[in-house]
Symmetry: C2
Subunit: 194 residues, 2 copies
DNA sequence: TGTAGCATGTAAGCCGTTACATGATTGA
DNA sequence: TCAATCATGTAACGGCTTACATGCTACA
């Protein structure tokens, strides 16, 4: 059982006991709306693999629904799944976040690129951030004020704050690069780091 | 060639042309000091695998140094490596950062845990953040004011700003959880999300 | 003399992706 | 009727980790 397994298991919690559950397809959609922003949204194929595993551990119950010629397998969390999830939440070691930040990586090697190009990259990042922020904001609005989505709401706010903080830092870096000497020109291809 | 390959290749740039280069062991140490904070620090074994690959592409030159009975293989970036790296920096699609945030994930499922335990987790996160911040601050101090480390310095400042922003959000969440109704008590094990 | 640090690698295996394969249903 | 969406899966493979294996060197 990986963290991703628990994350997907967690998505099923929000359906409540009287729901039919979610299809793999729907699980993927929920993951795209929530998990994507601070964990990962696993590939469609991986969702099915995880569900098989969870069913194997009796943490999830699968029910096939045949309507016409099409089979839809719906997944619900079991009592055991709920207990296991709660135990994991309370007792597992909560690791430190892992960040893979290609913009920071390129900034590190800025000496090879020069402030100009670096600023282009940072501007691109600002655009991407604005786009993501919009998406997450839409998700937050979609949650409504329902008590059941109180915690997801908090997480979404966390995400928005993170995007805002990143945008501010990126803008700061943009200005810092202006002040840098040796800017405005490409270094020759054999120049060492300056 | 993965992003991690380029990241490790990038570490060699800072050695300059008149250096002997770095041993795999030293590369790992540099990665622990810098890459760790915004990319990954690959396992020792992976460092050697990556170096083999880079040497295979002629982006890195390896030189064995036999002192006594011990062999140390030192790696330097080649001209071709420098050009390839610069091209990658300028032309590769700079993806959006990927964040794996177990604290946010647990907060999402806060309904199963109750504000109390959640606050413990957030406090633990604040401790971890303070520790990381100290480490990164030490790295930044170690860089000195050498021009060669100007960009690494900027990245380190980015990291510090990120840690500070995270700490602030975590503290905000801590207070929000106080205001939440239904706190201060564990939900019964069969309670649905509240 | 023994332990921490320096130094290099191989093997097994997990997690997850992309590519592939198949087909039903809905609506323009 | 065609495309988008719903729906489920298998196969191949890549990237990375952990565990394992080996040995030197400096120093307390």
């Amino acid at each position: 059982m990986t963290t991703t397994s628990y994350a997907l298991l967690g998505l099923l919690v929000f359906e409540g006991p009287e729901s039919d559950g979610l299809s793999g397809y729907e699980i993927k959609q929920r993951a795209d709306q929530t998990l994507r922003f601070y964990w990962v949204s696993p590939a469609m194929s991986q969702v099915y693999v995880e569900m098989d595993r969870l069913v194997g551990h009796d943490l999830v119950a699968a029910l096939d629904e045949d309507s016409g010629k099409r089979r839809t397998r719906r997944y619900r969390i079991t009592q055991e799944g709920l207990i296991t999830l709660r135990t994991w939440l309370a007792e597992s070691d909560t690791g430190f976040p892992v960040l893979k930040h290609p913009v920071a990586l390129k900034l590190l090697l800025g000496g090879l690129l020069g402030p100009d190009r670096l600023q282009q990259i940072l501007k691109g990042y600002l655009d991407d951030l604005a786009e993501r922020r919009r998406q997450l904001d839409a998700v937050l609005s979609g949650l409504g004020s329902d008590d059941a989505y109180r915690y997801p709401g908090l997480v979404a706010e966390w995400g928005l704050a993170y995007f805002d903080a990143e945008a501010e830092v990126a803008r700061t870096m943009l200005h810092r690069l202006d002040e840098l000497p040796g800017g405005r020109a490409d270094p020759p291809p054999d120049a060492p780091m300056t």
